[in-house]
Amino acid sequence: MTGEPFLILLVEDDPAHAEIVRRNLEDSRVANRLVHVSDGQEALDYLFHQGAYTDSEKFPRPGMVLLDLRLPKVDGLEVLKRAKADPSLSSIPIVILTTSATESDMARAYECQANSYLVKPVDLANFTAMMEAFGFYWLAWNKYPY
């Protein structure tokens, strides 16, 4: 950690869910910054500095990606695959945050080198507990190579 705010890229098509994540992260008081994109293509554009995100200073490299699986245009798994296939991006932890608890989805995500797989809880208390734990683990305790 360099002291700069830790940038999280949230890829979430559902604005409601994005709002939930944002609120939780804000409440968990872990210093961070959140950038929200709403489809797979946009996420790729951001990560690869293309499309509307060519300016790499304005859109810096995220320290972590929170990725939904079901996304318009480009599927979450595809985003995961491409990010992990790129040597400059593969070290970014990508945490899947999705509604699906289907085994096959989980298996595929881990096959594609997802770093963690979180299922969105169906009530606020659990959601908040999970996001807190997430914050502590990934943002306070976990060590990064950069």
Partner: protein
């Protein structure tokens, strides 16, 4: 209200999720009953969970989804499941208690019963669960539920109804539908899986019933499983096979192959195919099988065994064999066809030809085969031939091609070809059409000739229409005569060019000809040239009929006779002139015919003394003398024959005197009649001169004729004019008149032709002697060679040129023969000298060598050239020069000499030679030299020893007295006795007596010739001969002593010489041999007799002494043992390899050698066979050896006599006989020797065995008794036939002793030994072959039946190659009937067609794969889609023989299609679960979480956030609602079917636009519709939906387009009609275009859709078997959706009956 709905929704969503679990259970259920119970537990649990999280309206008053769950449980899973679920729900509800307890229980019961009721109503009857039905169920259940609310305590009921009635009626049926559809969809999915499983099971059944054997083996090769096909194919029950190793079932020869093959399977780990082996059928027969196998492995990967299939290919094998025979048959046809047949390769080489080619072209087949036929093609035909070949290369037939081939004799033959390319080869049948060609050529040239005749004839020819007079064709001459060009003559009328005065005559003639009165006519007439000039012509007209029905025409031939007419005129003029000449001619002229004179000229009258009238009145013969007139008829005849005649005659004058006359007679026409004109000249003077000459000539001739020299007179050309008798004698005949010596090849061959030229120019030529045999030139000459010396000279004519040549020959044959004999003798002599062992040389008077023979060079050591450069002194050492000079002097003077002196060899050694010199001429001497070096050396040594003897003389004289031999010496030459020793005195009875001279020696010493009364002749007495310098020896001298006793003496006499060699004394020594002589005489006679005998014995005899040394041997012994006498006596070394052999061929130990045996044992032996190996002889010599010992008086063995008799030949014959007998007895064929009368003289062991007789029994039978088909009566004829043919082969049957008939093949051979005839018959048992043939026949039938009845398609192909050998295509050879079934192609017409042809493709399908197999690759099988036939096939490819392959295939399109459908269903299913887990759950998360936030907001009083958070909840529930609706819609497509109706496109579009009208007008979209009248038959709501969704979609994604526009239209017609909906909206990024039709795919998160619209569209299009695609340039470029709806357009009965469901 909202909260209520939310609660309900939440409750229901949970249930939906749980229902997914139900599907999981259904997939895993093991037993239907257990499944039902599990489902019951699940649904019961779900109901309980629902009740745990219920909508609580008051204490004990709870509402939840249990009614939905129970009703659906009943509907889908039947009584058991719903019973379980109902009980659980009831129990739990009871537990909860409360006011709603009664109602709750009733609801549970009613829901369960209603569900169950509909289960029986719909599912049991197989009706599908449409959304409508589910909704009806839901509605009914919940109406009942609402009704049941009245059971609630009063007041509560109404409140509840008021609060929940509407939401329940709205939401619960909907949820029922949703969950019901999920369950129904799972049901449908599972039904497909079940179908697939069933198909698999069926497949397995098929495999088990397959004709192929399926087996598994342990790694050790023990069967663990075999399929029933084993029993079907091989007869063994399965239990006898399983658990057994495979080896005992296989043919012994194939076991190793199969083991290796299994090893290969293990090593490669892959399937190995195609091993072929024989397996024994239960009935003992062998079957060919082919097998393929794969290794099976356990988890660790080690091999646990094999799985394989085996196929019976016995029939195939047999078919291959049959094919082979078929080929052989073709081969026979090939070689016996009368046409020219050939097989050539693409490179233009003959590969095979039939023998007819030999006849046609004259080459042998060996010459032709392998040869490039282009070499033989006529150069002019080369181009055409190459063109034909390239045609063949393209696999086209060439059916009538002609070209010329060069025959062996250099001529060309025309060959017509019919060629058929077959891959790389060309099969051609050809025919020699040379004769036809020649006929054609003749015809053509004949036609040309006629054309040429017409055009080039010197006659004018024209073809004229007889009716109209038009000229049709003229030749150039005609036109020329008519004064016009050929073109101008075309279509002119003959009348136009005829002189007007001649037209009428011509017309009259024509009329007569046309009337048939005359066949044609000739006339003279005039043609008019264009310039008006008239030409006279002679015209011949002949009618022609070109064709039967054509207009009559005539041929007009004309000759220009203008010139002739002119000539006639001129002639007439000149006649006058000639008449004058006639009258004034210098010769008498008579014109006459046979009877009378016609005219005579004045000179004739004058010469004969008649007046003209007198002469004219005389018969012509009257002018001749009576002697001459007899010749008149003869002369007249030859005159008529030749036309002219010159002859001499004698005319008689009127006064009787005679006039010698030379007459020239000629045939002339006189006043229109034939006459003779004779011009007669008075030759009186010439006659007189000639008579004189003749006399002279006769004299000369006589001289020539009698000349002893051969004389030949020639004319200028060398032709013989005359020869004399001597010539004839010399050459045997006279040369024929047309023979010219100048071109005589025999003379020319001797190089003498140049001399003829000299002779021709008049020189006298002396020819060298030459050899001549006239017979070589002219067969009429006798075959006598002569040697001739010849002189030639010329007789010059008046012109100074040689006119006659005269050749004079002298016969020198005898002389030459003598010379030749001499030369031959000389040659013989020379040859002798060259090979003589004596050195011969010739030298000149100086001693220089002039000639030397090879022996001379050998003696001197010089080469012949070296010697010729030397003289005799050069080859002598200095001490010999004087000797040589003496000898030379001697020979020069006396002519002969002989001398011995030393000479020096080239290497410096000194040798001695003996020289005989002869003087050949004063300057030539010949020397004969013998190398006597060795002899001289020996002589020298002797001399030395003599000297030594002399020195010991004294010693000798002392000895003389005491020796027991008489020694007597007399003085030479007096004969006076000098010495007589004691013994001499005793033997002679006298000592040295006085007065003894050499004259009375015999008398004095009373010597007699033995056994006679005669005195011993003095001159023979050794003592006298000694005096003459001669040593001698006699043994027949008898001496009578004074006492009267006699003694026979052996006397040795020798001269005694002094140092100078002069004889000064003679000495004799003698001994008494009286007794010995007597014995000797007796012995000698006997010995002589035996020696002669032994030497001529045919046996070899060797006598060994006790030391085993050979004492005696005869010539035969030497010959047999191969040893020289010296070798036998041990004088010359023997080759160590020489040895005796035992009878068995092993080397004989020395101790066993006959001589050693005799000496060792002391016993003799008889008849031992001994072999002799001689190093220089190729073969062993075998002898029969007898040996016996010879004992002395004491019984000691002192000699061994061994005799040898040569038995080599006998032994060889014995061996050959033994071998022959052995092979005959053990031959696999029976052999019979049969006499001409059919008796069996001998038979071999096999013959006896095969017929079951003993030899004795068989020999008592005759052939007809054994042979089924041969009657005794036929036998003589049969034997006669065999005698004629020499050998016969036929099939027959023999009768076994037990009566069985045995089929046999008989080869009979006629043999004749001396006068005896035999039939040597070799008989082979062909039972096996017959059986094999029978089996083949049956098998072939079986195979054919199988092939025909096989359910799989089978096609046999062969590869087709181009000229270069590249594989281009394949050709179908045969197909079975199933072929048609699987491919849909006509089976009957398929064979013979090419792959590209039959499948209508550019490249033959699978060419590479097929050709790999056909070229020896592994057979393999694959499944593929085959586009040309639009079908899926499973294809196995095998190669029955190189270059061919067979495909065994099956149409698996249906199976593939089912699999494909299943795959699609599964994918859809997966998408659906994905959607459930994401999209359906997602709003739940939102709703629940924000409800939490709402609570916080309310607690914390954050009013501004309440609105925002509620907005999130609203959006989420809204989205969920839309999702459910769309889901319903999607599930409806294809399942909910409305009745089919006719509807036009225009109507559909109108309704679609109406449905979207609000959005359109809001966005201000311009709509453009241009559609023709298209009528659909289909489900109207679906079709409406289609357009509606597309328009909606277009409006929705219009983006910020300022002028939004949508076009709807149609392209194309019929089933291919393409509909389109085009907008100019935001377009679609090409990257995501393939996603737009996906279920729940939504590109724009901001839009309201659920992502189902286009998925729905796609489903509808696919329902009508259509296709939909989109075209968009990209973002902002607008989008165009295009689609087809073939099924909706196809108003067919099928469509009408089955509806839109495919």
């Amino acid at each position: 209200m909202v909260a209520t709905i939310l609660e309900l929704t939440y409750n229901l969503a949970l249930l939906v999720a749980l229902s997914v679990l139900s599907g999981f259970i259904r997939q895993r259920r093991s037993h239907p009953a257990w499944g039902a119970i599990l489902q019951g537990l699940l649904f019961g649990g779900a109901a309980v969970i629902g009740m745990m999280k219920p909508l609580v309206l008051g204490p004990g008053l709870i509402f939840d989804g249990r009614s939905v769950m129970l009703s659906l449980c009943g509907l889908f899973f039947g009584p058991v499941a719903v019973g379980v679920a109902g009980v659980i729900a009831l129990l739990y509800r009871t537990l909860l208690g409360g006011t709603g307890f009664h109602m709750g229980g009733l609801v549970i019961a009613s829901s369960a019963l209603l569900g169950l009721g509909f289960h029986h109503l719909w599912l049991r009857r197989g009706q599908s669960l449409t959304a409508g039905r589910l909704w009806r169920l839901g509605l009914l259940v919940h109406v009942v539920m609402i009704l049941l609310m009245f059971t609630l305590p009063a007041g509560t009921g109404l409140v509840v109804i008021k609060r929940l009635g509407l939401p329940i009626l709205l939401a619960y049926p909907l949820v029922t539908v949703l969950i019901g559809k999920v369950l129904a969809s799972q049901e449908a999915g599972m039904r497909s899986v079940a179908a697939l499983k069933e198909s698999e099971a069926k497949h397995r059944l098929l495999i088990e019933n397959s004709h192929d054997i399926i087996y598994t083996l342990t790694p050790e090769g023990v069967f663990t499983f075999v399929s029933p096909a084993w029993t079907a194919l091989l007869g063994h029950p399965i239990n006898q096979v399983v658990g057994q190793p495979f080896e005992p079932f296989l043919h012994r020869d194939d076991v190793a192959l199969c083991q290796a093959w299994l090893q290969k399977v293990i090593e490669t780990g892959e399937r190995q195919e195609g091993v072929e082996y024989r397996v024994q059928h239960l009935d003992g027969s062998w079957r060919w099988h082919t097998s393929s196998a794969v290794p099976t492995r356990n988890e660790k990967g080690s091999v646990t065994g094999f799985e394989g299939t085996a196929r019976d290919i016995t029939e195939r094998k047999a078919a291959e064999e049959a094919l082979h025979e078929k080929n052989a048959e073709l081969e026979r046809y090939f070689s016996s066809s009368l046409d020219l047949l050939c097989i050539a390769d693409a490179g233009g080489h003959f590969i095979r030809l039939n023998p007819e080619w030999e006849k046609a072209l004259g080459y042998s087949l060996q010459d032709l085969e392998g040869r490039s036929f282009l070499e033989l093609v006529h150069p002019e035909d080369m181009e055409g031939t190459l063109a034909a070949m390239s045609k063949l290369g393209a696999q086209e037939q060439v059916l009538s091609f002609e070209n010329r081939y060069r025959c062996k004799d250099g001529s060309y033959r025309w060959i017509e070809w019919r060629s058929q390319p077959q891959g790389n080869l060309v099969y051609a049948a050809a025919r020699d059409i040379t004769e036809r060609k020649q006929a054609e050529d003749a015809l053509r040239s004949s036609e040309n000739r006629f054309k040429t005749m017409f055009n080039e004839a010197p006659l004018g020819i024209a073809l004229i229409d007889s009716c109209t007079g038009h000229i049709h064709a003229v030749n150039p001459v005609f036109a020329h005569i008519a004064g016009r060009s050929t073109e101008e003559m075309a279509d002119i009328n003959w009348i136009d060019i005829t002189h007007p005065d001649d037209v009428q005559e011509d017309l009259d003639n024509m009329a007569r000809m046309n009337a048939g009165e005359i066949p044609g006519f000739q006339m003279r007439k005039r043609y008019l040239h264009p310039d008006g000039e008239a030409v006279w012509i002679h015209m011949t007209i002949a009618p022609v009929r070109v064709e039967a029905h054509a207009a009559p025409r005539h041929l007009c031939m004309i000759m220009d006779i203008t010139e002739r007419n002119r000539t006639d005129e001129a002639l007439r003029e000149s006649e006058q002139k000639y008449r004058a000449l006639f009258d004034g001619a210098g010769d008498a002229i008579f014109i006459h015919n046979a009877e009378r004179m016609l005219a005579v000229n004045p000179l004739a009258c004058e010469r004969l003394g008649y007046t003209q009238p007198e002469l004219l009145a005389m018969p012509p013969s009257a002018v001749d003398t009576p002697e001459q007139s007899q010749y008149v008829p003869e002369r007249t005849a030859s005159l008529l024959a030749q036309g002219h005649l010159t002859f001499e005659t004698e005319h008689q004058r009127k006064n009787g005197s005679r006039v010698p006359t030379e007459a020239i007679s000629r045939m002339i026409t006189w006043e229109g009649h034939p006459a003779i004109m004779s011009i007669c000249r008075d030759i009186t003077e010439r006659k007189q001169a000639q008579d004189a000459l003749d006399a002279e000539s006769a004299a000369l001739t006589s001289v020539i004729d009698n000349n002893p020299l051969s004389i030949q007179v020639l004319d200028r050309e060398g032709r013989t004019l005359k020869t004399n008798r001597a010539h004839t004698t010399l050459f045997g005949a006279t040369p024929p008149p047309d023979y010219s010596v100048f071109s005589d090849p025999l003379v020319e061959a001797q190089g003498l032709s140049a001399l003829w030229e000299k002779l021709r120019v008049g020189e006298v030529v002396f020819f060298p002697e030459f050899h001549y045999n006239a017979h070589d030139l002219l067969p009429e000459f006798p075959d006598v060679p002569v040697w001739v010396r010849m002189v030639g000279f010329s007789i010059l004519g008046k012109d100074g040129q040689p006119e006659r040549n005269v050749l004079m020959h002298e016969d020198v044959t005898q002389q030459r023969l003598a010379e030749q004999a001499l030369r031959e003798s000389e040659a013989q002599f020379r040859s002798y000298v060259d090979h003589a062992p004596i050195g011969v040389f010739v030298c000149d008077e100086k001693g220089r060598y002039l000639q030397v023979n090879p022996a001379a060079t050998t003696i001197t050591g010089y080469a012949s050239e070296e010697l010729l450069a030397l003289s005799i002194p050069d080859t002598l050492p200095p001490e010999s020069v004087a000797f040589a000079a003496n000898a030379f002097k001697d020979v020069t003077e006396t002519g002969r000499t002989s001398a011995e002196f030393a000479f020096r060899r080239k290497n410096g050694q000194i040798g001695m030679w003996a020289l005989e010199g002869v003087r050949l001429s004063p300057t030539r001497f010949m020397g004969l030299v013998t190398d006597i070096t060795e002899r001289k050396k020996a002589e020298e040594e002797l001399t030395h020893s003599k000297e030594a003897l002399m020195r010991q003389n004294a010693v000798l004289s002392a000895l003389l007295k005491s020796i027991p031999i008489g020694v007597f010496m007399v003085e030479a030459p007096s004969g006076k006795p000098l010495v007589a020793n004691e013994m001499a005195c005793e033997l002679l009875g006298r000592g040295i007596l006085p007065n003894v001279s050499k004259e009375n020696l015999s008398e004095v010493y009373s010597s007699y010739k033995m056994d006679t009364q005669d005195r011993y002749p003095l001159e023979e007495m050794p003592i006298i001969r000694g005096m003459n310098g001669e040593a001698s020896h006699v043994d027949d001298m008898m001496v009578e002593r004074p006492d009267g006793t006699q003694a026979l003496l052996e006397v040795f006499g020798s001269p005694v010489t002094d140092d100078q060699g002069r004889v000064w004394a003679s000495v004799v020594s003698f001994l008494d041999i009286t007794e010995r002589k007597v014995a000797e005489q007796a012995l000698g006679e006997s010995e002589q007799k035996y020696r002669t005998l032994i030497d001529h014995l045919s046996a070899g005899i060797v006598v060994h002494g006790p030391d085993t040394g050979i004492l005696l041997s005869n010539g035969m012994a030497s010959t047999l043992l191969g040893l020289t006498a010296e070798q036998m006596q041990g004088k010359t070394a023997m080759d160590p390899r020489w040895c005796f052999l035992e009878e068995d061929g092993s080397a004989m130990p020395l101790s066993e050698y006959p001589v050693n045996r005799v000496f060792a044992s002391g016993e003799g032996f008889q008849s031992q066979v001994v072999g002799i190996r001689h190093p220089e002889r190729a073969e062993l010599t075998w002898v029969l050896c007898n040996a016996y010992p010879v004992r002395d008086a004491k019984g000691w063995v002192v000699q061994a006599v061994i005799t040898f008799t040569d038995i080599t030949d006998r032994r060889r014959a014995e061996e050959a006989l033994r071998l022959t007998r052995f092979s005959i007895e053990n031959a696999s064929d029976s052999m019979y020797w049969v006499t001409p009368d059919g008796r069996i003289l001998d038979v071999n062991e096999t013959g006896c065995r095969s017929l079951g007789y003993s030899r004795t029994e068989l020999l008592a039978l005759t052939v007809p008794e054994l042979d089924v088909y041969l009657d005794a009566g036929d036998w003589p004829g049969h034997f006669a036939e065999l005698r004629q043919l020499g050998s016969m082969t036929f099939e027959s049957e023999q009768r076994h002793r037990d009566g069985r008939l045995i089929p046999v093949e008989v080869v009979e051979n006629y043999l004749k030994f001396g006068e005896e005839e035999w039939n040597c018959a070799i008989i082979r048992d062909i039972t096996d072959r017959k059986q094999a043939e029978e089996a083949l026949h049956l098998s072939e039938q079986k195979f054919r039946t199988l092939f025909e009845n096989l359910t799989e398609g089978v096609a046999l192909h062969e590869l087709v190659r181009d000229v270069a050998g590249k594989i281009l295509d394949y050709r179908l050879l045969d197909v079975n009937p199933a072929y048609q079934h699987h491919t849909g192609l006509e089976a009957l017409t398929a064979p013979g067609r090419l792959g590209t042809e039959i499948y209508e493709t550019e490249v033959p399908p699978f060419l590479e794969e097929f050709s790999q197999v056909a070229l020896g690759g592994e057979p393999y099988a694959f499944e593929t889609f085959f586009p040309p036939l639009d079908k899926h096939f499973r294809i196995s490819v095998i190669s029955p023989k190189p270059g061919q392959f067979a495909t065994v295939f099956e149409d698996i399109t249906d199976r593939k299609r089912r699999e494909e459908e299943l795959k699609q269903k599964n994918a859809e299913m997966e998408r659906f679960t994905y959607m459930i887990s994401h999209d359906l759950k997602s709003p739940l998360v939102t709703v629940r979480t924000f409800l939490g936030y709402l609570e916080q907001d309310l607690e914390q009083g954050k009013a501004e956030r309440v609105v925002k958070d509620m907005g999130f909840i609203r959006d989420a529930t809204g989205k969920m609602g839309r999702l459910l609706e769309d889901l319903l819609e999607v599930s409806r497509v294809g399942r909910v079917v409305n009745p089919l109706v006719r509807v036009t496109l225009a109507d559909l579009i109108q309704e679609a636009l109406a449905a979207v009208a609000v959005a359109i007008s809001t966005r201000g979209v311009a709509i453009q519709v241009e559609v023709p009248l298209v009528t659909f038959l289909g489900d109207r709501p679906r079709l409406e939906e289609l357009w509606q969704n597309l328009v909606e979609n277009a409006v929705k994604y219009m983006g910020d387009q300022p002028c939004p526009r949508i076009e709807l239209g149609v392209e194309g017609t019929g089933a291919d009609t393409v509909f389109f909906v085009r907008d100019n909206g935001q377009g679609i990024d090409p990257r995501f275009q393939d996603k737009v039709f996906g279920l729940f795919e939504q590109l724009d998160t901001a839009s309201e859709g659920t992502g189902l619209g286009l998925a729905l569209v796609k489903r509808i299009v696919e329902l009508y078997e259509g296709r939909i695609w989109l075209e968009s340039e990209g973002l902002g470029q607008g989008t165009c959706f295009r689609f087809t709806l073939p099924l909706a357009l196809k108003v067919t009965p099928k469509n009408r009956k089955e509806g839109a469901r495919p």
